[in-house]
C-alpha cells in the first residue's frame, strides 16, 4: 500500500518536473517571465483604457480581476497543452501503453502549472501594488494566497476536460483559447457579473473562478474568512465537479480509443 503510494507520488513529481523542463528547454528565464506577465499586463492595460474611455471609474477592479485570471489560464491552458502535446508529438500511445496510473501522470503535469500560475499571480499583485498603488495593507495575504491557489486548482479541472477534448479533435486548443477569451466576459474579471445579461449570469455561476474571484475581491477589500467561506466552499465544489468530469471523460476516451484507435491520430 505504502509502496503504491510512493510510486504514485514519484510519478506525480516526475511528471511535474517534466512539464517544468519542457517549458525551460525552449526559452530563457527572461523570455519566460516576459511571456508570463507581459501579455496579461498589456491586456489589462488595454481593458483599463477601454474602461476609462467609456467611463468605468474603477481601474483597480480590472487590475485585480486580470491578475486573478493568470492562475486560471495557467491551470487551464497548461493542463490542456500537457495532454494535447502528447497527441501532437505522438507520444500518447507510450503513456497510455504504460501501466502508470493516469491520474498522477496528468495531474502531476498540472502541478507545475498550478504552482506557476499561483506564483505569477502573487508576483502580479506585488507589481500592481507598485504600479497602480494597489493597497495591500489591510489585506489578509494568507487568504489572498488561498484564493489564488484555489483558482489555479479549480481551473485545472477544466484543463483536464479541454485536454481530453483535444485528444479527439486537433482543434482542441482552439476551443480552449476561445473559452479562455470568454472568461474576460463571464467570470467577473473586468466588470461585475451582475452587469451581465441574466442568462449569462446563470452561466457564470456554473463555472469555476466566478466565486473564487469574488472571494479574492472581498479579501482585497479587507474582509476575513467568515465573509468568504461560503464562496470558497462553492468554488471547491464546482472545481471538484469539473476535475471529476475531466478525469472520467479522459478515461472514457481512453477506453473508446482501444476500439476505434483514434487517440493518437493527428
Amino acid at each position: 500500500m505504502i509502496d503504491k503510494f510512493v510510486h504514485i507520488i514519484r510519478i506525480y513529481f516526475a511528471e511535474a518536473w517534466l512539464s517544468y523542463q519542457g517549458r525551460f528547454a525552449i526559452t530563457s528565464p527572461f523570455g519566460y517571465i516576459a511571456g508570463k506577465l507581459g501579455f496579461p499586463f498589456f491586456l489589462m492595460l488595454f481593458f483599463i483604457f477601454m474602461g476609462k474611455y467609456v467611463g468605468f471609474s474603477d481601474p483597480l477592479y480590472i487590475v485585480i480581476g486580470n491578475i486573478l485570471l493568470i492562475p486560471a489560464s495557467s491551470g487551464m491552458g497548461g493542463v490542456t497543452l500537457a495532454i494535447s502535446d502528447e497527441r501532437q508529438w505522438g507520444t500518447l500511445s507510450y503513456v497510455l501503453g504504460s501501466p502508470a496510473p493516469r491520474g498522477p501522470v496528468f495531474m502531476g503535469r498540472a502541478f507545475y502549472y498550478i504552482v506557476d500560475g499561483f506564483v505569477t499571480a502573487l508576483l502580479g499583485f506585488g507589481i500592481a501594488a507598485g504600479i497602480f498603488g494597489l493597497d495591500l495593507s489591510t489585506v489578509n495575504i494568507f487568504l489572498l494566497m488561498i484564493c489564488s491557489l484555489l483558482i489555479a486548482v479549480t481551473s485545472s479541472g477544466l484543463g483536464f476536460l479541454f485536454g481530453s477534448i483535444s485528444l479527439v479533435t486537433r482543434d482542441g486548443w482552439m476551443i480552449l483559447s476561445t473559452f479562455l477569451s470568454f472568461l474576460y466576459i463571464l467570470v467577473g474579471v473586468n466588470f461585475p457579473v451582475a452587469s451581465l445579461p441574466m442568462i449569462l449570469q446563470k452561466l457564470s455561476w456554473g463555472l469555476p473562478l466566478t466565486r473564487g474571484i469574488m472571494a479574492a475581491r472581498l479579501v482585497m477589500e479587507g474582509e476575513g474568512w467568515s465573509s468568504i467561506s461560503s464562496l470558497i466552499t462553492g468554488e471547491v465544489l464546482v472545481g471538484l465537479v469539473y476535475i471529476f468530469i475531466g478525469y472520467f471523460f479522459f478515461l472514457f476516451l481512453e477506453k473508446r480509443s482501444m476500439h476505434s484507435g483514434t487517440l493518437d491520430a493527428m
Binding site: I26, G31, F47
Partner: protein, 263 residues
C-alpha cells in the same frame, strides 16, 4: 525583384488561403476573439451606466483587433509552422527570396483580416443600427487602404524577425497587445498618458487608424487627415527600409545557426 511575378503572387496567395486561412482556427481569430473584445467594450460601457455602446471604438475597434491579432498570429504561425514541417528550408533553398514569399503571405493575411472588419461593420449596421450618416466616406476609404499598407509593412517586418530564430516567435507574441494598447485600437489615443501617445507616434498603424476613426466620426478636416496619411506612409516606408536592410542579415544568420529546420 525585376518584374512582378503574378504567377507566384497568385500561387502563394492560394496556398496561403488553403493551408493557413481556411481552418477552424481562423473562426476564433477573425470572428470570436474580436466579438469578445467588442462585448467587453460594450459591457464595460453598460457597467459604467451608459445606455448605448460606442459603435466606432467598441464594435469597429473589435474588427481592427481581429485584423491585428489575425496578422500577428498567422505571421508567427507561418514561420513556426514552416520551420516545423521542413518547408522553411525548401523555400530558402529555392531561387525565390524568403522576403518576397513573406511579403505575399503577409498581404494575404492582411486581406484575410479584412473579414473581421467587414463583420464588425455589418454588426454595427445590422445589429446596432449604425446609420453612417455624416461619415467622411472617402476619408474612411483612404485611411483604410493606408491602414492595410501599414499593417502589411509591420507584418513583413515581423516575419523577417520571426525567421531570425525560433525564439523570436515568443517575442512577437508579446507585441500583439502592446501595439493594440498603445495605438488605441478600441479607444481614442487621447485617453492615454501623453508620453505613451508620443511612443505610439512611431507606429504607422496608429496614424491610419486615428484618421479612419475621425473620418468615421464625421471629420472632414483635410489638414488633419493629410498629416495622418503622410505619417502612415512615411513610417511604413521606414519599416520597409529596415526590413530590406535586415533580410540579408537574417538570411545569413539562419544559415549560420542552422535554425532553418530546427523544431
Amino acid at each position: 525583384m525585376t518584374h512582378l511575378r503574378w504567377g507566384l503572387i497568385k500561387q502563394q496567395m492560394s496556398v496561403q488561403f488553403l493551408v493557413r486561412t481556411m481552418n477552424p482556427l481562423s473562426l476564433g481569430l477573425f470572428v470570436i476573439q474580436p466579438a469578445v473584445f467588442s462585448a467587453v467594450g460594450m459591457l464595460l460601457s453598460r457597467a459604467a451606466g451608459n445606455s448605448t455602446p460606442d459603435l466606432v471604438y467598441s464594435v469597429i475597434g473589435g474588427g481592427i483587433m481581429g485584423m491585428w491579432s489575425g496578422l500577428v498570429f498567422t505571421s508567427t504561425f507561418d514561420i513556426a509552422g514552416d520551420r516545423r514541417n521542413g518547408m522553411l528550408e525548401l523555400i530558402v533553398g529555392s531561387p525565390t527570396s524568403l522576403n518576397l514569399i513573406e511579403s505575399i503571405r503577409t498581404f494575404t493575411n492582411v486581406l484575410s483580416g479584412l473579414f473581421s472588419l467587414v463583420l464588425a461593420f455589418m454588426a454595427a449596421t445590422f445589429i446596432f443600427g449604425y446609420s453612417f450618416t455624416g461619415v467622411n466616406t472617402w476619408g474612411v476609404i483612404v485611411s483604410l487602404l493606408l491602414l492595410l499598407f501599414a499593417m502589411w509593412s509591420i507584418g513583413v517586418f515581423l516575419a523577417n524577425f520571426l525567421a531570425w530564430s525560433r525564439l523570436s516567435g515568443t517575442f512577437v507574441d508579446y507585441l500583439e497587445m502592446p501595439i493594440a494598447f498603445i495605438c488605441g485600437f478600441m479607444y481614442p489615443i487621447r485617453v492615454l498618458p501623453v508620453w505613451l501617445q508620443h511612443i505610439s507616434g512611431a507606429i504607422p498603424i496608429r496614424w491610419a487608424l486615428e484618421a479612419m476613426n475621425e473620418s468615421l466620426l464625421g471629420s472632414f478636416d483635410l489638414k488633419y487627415l493629410t498629416i495622418h496619411w503622410a505619417m502612415t506612409i512615411f513610417l511604413s516606408l521606414v519599416l520597409i527600409a529596415i526590413t530590406t536592410w535586415m533580410q540579408v542579415k537574417v538570411h545569413d544568420k539562419i544559415r549560420l545557426s542552422g535554425e532553418l529546420s530546427s523544431i
